[in-house]
């Protein structure tokens, strides 16, 4: 079909004075494929856009080239303008003659402007339409994990009418909730009961996710349980697999042996302390108690928060002398500074040390030896009870599950959010989310926000049962594909899979739903079998050809 391109130049109110628009317009007129050239002064405003629509219709244009300000803010509305004129929105090519030409240089830049428009025209000739289609999505969500975050997410999404499967690897749900419950006062038991009773929620204990295929809206998941595999379909997947808390008992490599020699009931976890506090009458009250925090793990907040809360509780219930040994007091959580002050007001002594204390035992008591920064000297405290530092580690299944799902881990082995700062709960694979401690988030306030965030993210995607998607924007030509698997391995978003084709052979297929349109697969394909509309090889090369 004959290319009929309309070239629309905008002189930005006449202010782009270092471009001779008449000269540009007359140069464009002679180019093959250019059906008409128009000069406007305010293409960003409605009246000029209405005129553009009339031109497209009256002149039977099938390509639109706009030379104006940056496409960053104008490409999207211009695509809609082009669509209102009856053309596919992708038949638009833009040249940035304002920010990157007129504004960027002194002196006359007409020559450069001409080249930039020529580049856009060369590309425009090769543009092809991309249709937006509506696809149905599964109104179901797989939640992996059985703890506090998992159960909450399941309940909230089920209430929105989505079908939920909770997959938990152990025999019971709510295991990490026990610990969180005692520290923070949540009743995980009642949440689990609610989940088990909910008609929209299926709880599968002693189950594992084995494989995940497909893309957002249409995941096919194989779950293994009691030796049997079952295949299920889900619209989205939430990983809420929690973490593991371990006591850092070897705080100092020299003293680790001695530290381990102490044991029994003198060294406890926060959990065990809370348990003892709940039955104050039984057992001997410790006259002196010490907490260790912020030596082995400086990056999580929960152990500081637990320490502050429990230190206050100890003062209240046992009236013991309480020492907190730490490097720095981590108070960047809601209410933490207030707790810290209250603890100090109630006589808790905070000892700030540049390095982890030396722990030894002497006559049944635990001796804590450290350099106190504030005093400037070494001190030794003899304690009856030592609360060891708790460190957060990723749950052992995190790495394996991450690789089944095609998502990344951070340097500590927790799940890595999508570029960290783009979306806190999303992964780099569309439709797969992380909440709670499995992504390293450790204080309850932040975990609660994670839970709510993921709920709305998923509701946005699945509630209506349909998603609009660009059809075949990135497409593998199965004739050229040699199934080398390079694109599949390279795609950062796990959006390409091997699928059987009509010819019988398996070829790479890009999921319209999962694709992020980055083009990395296109560049790496050794057979040049992948076409990426708007950024095809020939479209990029055409722009280069037009230079000079």
């Amino acid at each position: 079909m004959e290319v009929r391109a309309g070239v629309f130049l905008c002189n930005c109110g006449g202010a782009l004075k270092n471009i001779d628009f008449d000269a540009v317009a007359s140069e464009m007129a002679g180019i093959p494929g250019v059906a008409s050239v128009h000069v406007s002064s305010d293409l960003c405003l409605a009246p000029a856009r209405d005129r553009m629509i009339s031109c497209i219709r009256e002149e039977n244009l099938n390509r639109v080239v706009v030379a104006a300000c940056s496409p960053e803010l104008t490409e999207y509305p211009l695509r809609r303008t082009v669509q209102s004129a009856g053309l596919n929105g992708h038949m638009l090519s833009m040249a940035n003659i304002r920010e990157q030409c007129s504004w960027a240089h002194e002196g006359d830049v007409t020559g450069k402007a001409v080249e930039l428009v020529k580049m856009a025209i060369s590309r425009a000739r090769l543009l092809q339409p991309v249709e937006e289609v509506e696809v149905g999505v599964e109104r179901s969500v797989l939640v992996v994990g059985g703890g506090f975050a998992a159960v909450n997410v399941g309940l909230l999404l089920a209430a929105a009418g989505l079908r939920i499967t909770l997959v938990e690897s152990t025999g019971t749900s709510g295991s990490d909730g026990q610990e969180l419950g005692s520290i923070h006062g949540f009743d995980i038991g009642s949440l689990v009961t609610a989940a088990e009773r909910d008609q929209n929620i299926e709880v599968l204990t002693s189950a594992r996710v084995v494989t995940v295929e497909g893309a957002i809206g249409d995941f096919t998941v194989t779950i293994s349980r009691e030796g049997k595999n079952m295949a299920r379909k889900y619209g989205a997947i939430v990983l809420a697999t929690g973490s593991r808390i371990e006591l850092a008992l070897a705080t100092d490599s020299d003293s680790s042996a001695e530290y381990q020699g102490i044991g029994g009931t003198n060294v406890v976890s926060q959990d065990q302390l809370v348990e003892r506090l709940s039955r104050p009458a039984s057992g001997v009250k410790p006259a002196t108690l010490a907490f260790m925090v912020d030596f082995a793990d400086e990056s999580t907040r929960f152990s500081t928060l637990a320490t502050l809360g429990n230190a206050l509780a100890v003062r209240k219930v046992w009236d013991s002398e309480v020492y907190v040994f730490c490097r720095d007091v981590k108070v960047d959580s809601q209410g933490a500074e207030r707790l810290y002050r209250e603890a100090r007001d109630r006589g808790v002594v905070f000892v700030k040390c540049p390095a982890a204390p030396r722990i030894t035992s002497d006559n049944g008591r635990v001796m804590v030896e450290a350099k106190d920064v504030l005093l400037g000297e070494d001190i030794t405290v003899a304690c009856d009870l030592l609360v060891a530092e708790a460190v957060l580690y990723p749950d052992p299944a995190t790495a394996a599950l991450g690789s089944v799902l095609g998502v990344r881990l951070d340097e500590k082995g927790f799940y890595q959010e999508n570029n960290v700062h783009l979306y806190p709960v999303a992964s780099e694979r569309k439709g797969v989310f992380f909440v709670g401690t499995c992504r390293g988030q450790s204080d309850v306030g932040r975990v609660m926000n994670d839970i709510s965030s993921v709920v709305i993210n998923i509701k946005d995607l699945l509630s209506s049962g349909k998603i609009m998607v660009e059809s075949e924007r990135v497409k593998v030509d199965s004739e050229k594909c040699v199934a080398c698997l390079t694109c599949i391995r390279v795609c950062p978003h796990a959006a390409i899979e091997l699928r059987g084709t009509e010819g019988g052979k398996e070829k790479a297929v890009v999921s319209d739903l999962g694709c992020h349109a980055c083009g990395i697969c296109v560049a790496i394909c050794p057979a040049k079998a992948i076409e990426f509309q708007d950024y095809r090889d020939d479209q990029i090369l055409a722009q280069i050809e037009a230079v000079g």
């Binding site: 930005c12 109110g13 006449g14 202010a15 305010d42 803010l73 999207y76 509305p77 909450n152 309940l155 909230l156 209430a159 929105a160 009418g161 923070h184 006062g185 949540f186 009743d187 009642s190 400086e298 990056s299 907040r301 500081t304 809360g309 720095d328 007091v329 981590k330 108070v331 960047d332 809601q334 933490a336 500074e337 207030r338 002050r341 700030k352 540049p354 920064v373 400037g376 951070d410 340097e411 960290v420 700062h421 979306y423 806190p424 390293g440 309850v444 306030g445 932040r446 609660m448 926000n449 994670d450 839970i451 709510s452 965030s453 709920v455 709305i456 993210n457 509701k459 946005d460 209506s464």
Partner: protein, 426 residues
Amino acid sequence: MKSASRDVLVIGSGISGISSALELAKAGITVHLVEKEVAVGGHSASFCCKATDVCVRCSACVVPEKIREAVLHPEIRLHTSSTVRKLAGKGGDFRVEIVHQPGPVDPEKCIACGLCTEVCPVDPKAIHAPPVEATPFTYVLDQGLCLRFKGEKCVLCRESCPTTAVEFERKAKAVELSVGAIIVATGFDVVDARERGSLGYGRYPNVMTGLDLERLFAREGRLILPCNGQPPRSVAFIQCVGSRDRRHGYCSHVCCKYAMKFGGLLKYQNPDTQVTIFYIDLQTAGKGFARFYEEYKDSIRFVRGVPVEISEAASGELEVKFEDISLTRVSRDRFDLVVLSVGIAPRKDAWDLAKVLGINMADDGFFAAAESNGSNEASVKGIFLAGTCQGPRDIPDAVDHGMAAASEVLQLLDRVGARPAGSWGY
């Protein structure tokens, strides 16, 4: 019973408000995003990139992308230069009166051609381009400099405007909105560094705040002293200016991180620059920050001890008097430049908004969440809090918080679901 209106009002278009607005818009909800200023984006839109040869996850570059997404989304209705004047009704069925006080330049007509600036007769120009990150990129007229607003008859900018975007007298307009829920995302003010008068902010040109530094780097890309245009030989960061003190009894979350990131950036650009950070407790929690400290502890001098006074030495340098806790004595050190890591404080006009909406404020002056069970609902049902207006947080937490507030709004509008069970002590 479903709510009367499924529209939502989001007050404030900083990163948190925008996050809330986008999540709701994606759910098909019409969002009225009300912003007091002419441009959207709040404070974080003006932050600078702090990358050395690797990204340091300061999140500053994410903000413009989110702003662009919000401004282009068809379900988000932008009301700039607008404030909330009245509220009636209750959760699920609010009637809000917005006052739109347009400035002289109409953002719907301004094409940023700059012709008005060319013809403006005063110097510095009264009508000029906004800060480079401003969205919409609408020219601004500084009434303090403008001849017309001083009573003279100048109309040159209006005459030169090709789209008739300039009009000097514009009447305020009231807009009535019917919404089912409201999200308050009005953000923060930086602590006024003059609260710590002895630190010399405002008196010495080489004492600046963290926010001043963000803007300087955003414009210049490197640190140069305002007085002589040279890079400083020595820089001190003073933490907790307006945080963890009598007036602001909380940690501002962001200052230790931005000080370390700036410190690292300064060392990367000028390895000879001496960087010192004076702190109380280094807040290195969160992903990757502890590693930061390990990386920089040999090249940056970390001093535990908060300075009490800054004076000018004879050499022109700044002399900082501080208690060096590890040496247990009072010391004095000299620096070319001192950066006060000011904290996040409630906005000075928070009280006015609280009165209009009828929501409570907490002891620390931020808006109060009604329950301590993780809900972000304010003391009035149907009004939710997002971002730093509820308490200090960094950019990723503000995005998470904004989405969480939007999630609760959606639950309210759908009249389904309940808060997760349980509450906790703090």
